[in-house]
């Protein structure tokens, strides 16, 4: 299975969002920012001490709290 949580996704690997759990509130918020199921996503870096992740999505850089990134399920692109 190459479906993993965003929090576990390796740096620089491109993946696609499968689903966002944790209630409508979080998923709607992220969807408004362009993080909808099927969107390509890449982890750029993680802050140390279990900090937030910086991601690239739709050509923009976003920082997501660690808790939030544990709610996003992604699938690693095959090629």
């Amino acid at each position: 299975m190459n479906e993993i949580l965003l929090i576990k996704l390796q740096r620089g690997i491109e993946a696609k969002i499968i689903s966002i759990s944790g209630g409508r509130f979080a998923s709607k918020r992220l969807a408004d920012l362009g993080l909808t199921p099927g969107t390509k996503i890449k982890v750029l870096r993680r802050a140390p001490f279990f900090g937030p992740v910086e991601i690239e999505v739709r050509g923009s850089k976003l920082v997501l709290g660690r808790g939030l990134s544990a709610k996003i399920l992604v699938k690693i692109n095959e090629n």
């Binding site: 998923s27 918020r29 909808t36 199921p37 937030p52 050509g59 850089k61 920082v63 709290g65």
Partner: protein
């Protein structure tokens, strides 16, 4: 168009798009910063005279969507939909076009006259982004203007375009979603036909399918039966798409935008890593990042305090000359003395504002405009989570080291009311520059510099513990950090200076009334000869519990005005600046701790009041007083055991 000389424009856009640069460029000194009535959201209005028109510009808060996630988003959409400004100017950061356009589509749904300003085309070119504006304008059917706001390029074209659009009186056509979604929307529009609300019907329908709580409430009051129909229609969508209907709608917008992007954007990525990118890598590095952060902030504080002490000393001299002059002219009557204390309080404010708050804001806005503060939030997020708030909260806390007033006011950057309050509450425990004067002048000088630094660490510990406690007592989950990471860019000096100026003005306006009133009252108490009786009245606390001299009561009263007055009055009342002769080291440390944590100074009380209302202000003030006295007594007892 009938000759209407007054125009109302609203600037709308996400954070870091250069909205405030445009606002400041257009309105310059003709602006006013206040709060939205009853809200802790900032309202910046400005005026501009252009080609015979008076254009009133409202700078809406920087937001990421028009959902009701934060108070800002609610305020912004209410303003556009209900107050109906003549024109919405949507500012878009072209280097983040796709995310920004998702927001633009939401603005179009509000069906107000709109133009879109595509800002930062210079940076886009650098990043190899090429955009076909003609095509973009065609697809959106909205005037689209490229600008470089930081250099004022394209802004007069924006104004001309705006006036032209208003003369033509065309409303934007919202872009059409997919077939199934449109079907549900159409059905809802007919159902909503006889509902009288000041919003476009199509917008209401979309928001209902998005399960927007505020719109649901509106409909419930008018015709609750509609909500049942909404549920059915949402369910239809969810069956077809397999996601919550709110996500389906957002997804539709994303699809529309990515199709637009495919048609109008061409990117040729530059081969070399840019300087900005390198800077980003270094400043967010897991080791170097923290090292640099400590260095940058440390240097900033050092500069500010060195400059501040110098200027404060200079002003002190000038103002004391003024006092002599006042006495010469008006004499020594009670009225003359009281009116001088009013003047003195005002001067005291200036003595904080110019030496400390001014450079603080300058540095802070510089770092913000540069993009560095976002990196600080990124690095500090995990620490801030330990006290129940996310990374952005470190900015108010940092500001608190300069002065608690701007710190309190800056809590507006937090998303929810709960986080604003926790952050505001905690900032009042941060030792400000006035407290630093006490810590350094008393403990640092007479007990030892290591003890002075120990007190800072102690304050940090207290803030941490109180944060944990606040987390327990204030229900709710910590909001997760969601923040756009802006690219580093050359700061815009004009914006920084204007923002600093208006903040300084705000500080004086908020703090002055209460500071002047309390200054006069305290002087009156002094003239009436009540200071000593009050000090004796307080002696069970000051002498018996805290182990300090009787005059401490007087000191704490004066400290309400400005905390460093504690030290000034101590010297005045004892007739010596060699405090070691009159106070033991444990007494000094106890006094410093009480000074650090007891009642926030009058100016901070004003800021708390403005931000959180009087109930919370009274609660915080009482809590701090009891807490500081309780803690002071315990520390004194512990210290005397070991000393």
């Amino acid at each position: 168009m009938k000759t209407k000389k007054q125009l109302y424009f609203a600037l709308a856009g996400q954070a870091n798009v250069g909205k405030s640069v445009i606002f400041n460029y257009l309105t310059s000194l003709h602006q006013h910063i206040g709060n939205w009535p009853g809200k802790t959201v900032e309202k910046a209005e400005g005026k501009l005279y252009y080609k015979g028109y008076t254009i009133n510009i409202l700078d809406l808060p920087g937001i990421y969507s028009l959902s009701t996630y934060s108070i800002e988003e609610l305020v912004a959409r209410e303003y556009i939909a209900v107050k109906k400004p003549d024109l919405v100017v949507n500012v878009v950061d072209i280097t983040n076009l796709e995310r920004n356009l998702i927001f633009s589509l939401q603005l179009l749904e509000l069906e107000r006259p709109i133009i879109i300003v595509f800002n930062m085309i210079d940076l886009a070119k650098k990043k190899g982004i090429e955009i076909d504006f003609k095509k973009l304008e065609q697809i959106l059917s909205v005037p689209s203007m490229p600008t470089v706001a930081s250099h004022g390029i394209g802004l007069s074209e924006v104004l001309d375009g705006a006036i032209e659009l208003l003369q033509k009186r065309v409303l934007p056509q919202p872009l059409k979603f997919g077939e199934e979604v449109e079907k549900q929307i159409k059905e809802l529009i007919t159902v909503l036909n006889d509902v009288d609300l000041p919003y476009p019907k199509r917008w209401l329908s979309i928001k209902l399918l998005e399960k927007d709580k505020e719109v649901e409430k509106l409909i419930k009051d008018k015709k609750p039966a509609i909500l049942k129909r909404v549920k059915e229609l949402s369910l239809n969508l969810e069956k077809i798409h397999g996601h919550d209907s709110s996500v389906v709608i957002a997804d539709e917008r994303c699809h529309l935008v990515s199709r637009i992007i495919k048609k109008v954007v061409k990117i040729t990525k530059p081969k070399k890593i840019s300087f900005e990118e390198k800077l980003h890598i270094i400043t967010t590095h897991r080791i170097l990042g923290y090292f640099l952060m400590t260095a940058i902030l440390g240097l900033m504080f050092l500069t500010i305090f060195t400059f501040g002490n110098w200027l404060s000393f200079l002003l002190e001299k000038v103002f004391s000359d003024w006092q002599i002059w006042w006495k010469d002219v008006f004499g020594n009557s009670i009225l003359a003395t009281l009116s001088w204390s009013a003047v003195e309080s005002t001067l005291a404010l200036i003595q904080i504002a110019l030496p400390y708050i001014l450079p603080f804001y300058l540095f802070l806005y510089l770092l913000e405009d540069l993009g560095y503060l976002a990196r600080v939030s990124f690095l500090m997020d995990s620490f801030m989570h330990k006290i129940g708030v996310h990374g952005k909260a470190c900015i108010p806390l940092l500001l608190g080291l300069g002065c608690n007033v701007p710190a309190c006011l800056s809590c507006r950057i937090m998303e929810t009311e709960r986080e604003r309050f926790i952050t505001g509450f905690l900032t009042t425990f941060v030792p400000c520059s006035a407290v630093t004067v006490i810590i350094m002048g008393l403990v640092g000088k007479f007990v030892g510099i290591s003890f002075a630094f120990g007190l800072y660490i102690f304050a940090l510990l207290i803030i941490f513990i109180l944060g944990r406690l606040a987390l327990k007592f204030l229900p709710g989950e910590t909001t997760e950090l969601i923040m756009a990471m802006p690219d580093y860019k050359v700061p815009n000096i004009k914006t920084i200076i204007l923002q600093t100026f208006f903040r300084l003005k705000e500080f004086i306006y908020i703090a002055a009334p209460l500071v002047i009133i309390s200054g006069v009252i305290i002087k009156a108490i002094e003239l009436a000869g009540w200071l000593n009786p009050i000090a004796r009245l307080l002696s069970p606390i000051t002498v018996n519990w805290l182990g300090l001299p009787v005059i401490t009561g007087i000191l704490l009263i004066f400290g309400l005005l400005r905390k460093e007055m504690i030290l000034v009055m101590l010297a005045a009342l004892l007739g010596t600046t060699d405090f070691a002769q009159v106070l033991t080291p444990p007494q000094m440390i106890t006094l410093a701790i009480v000074a650090m944590f007891y009642i926030p100074c009058v100016a901070t009380i004003s800021a708390l009041w403005k931000q959180f209302g009087w109930k919370k202000t009274v609660a915080v003030t009482l809590f701090k007083t009891v807490f500081a006295i309780g803690l002071g007594g315990i520390v004194f007892r512990l210290l005397t055991v070991f000393w």
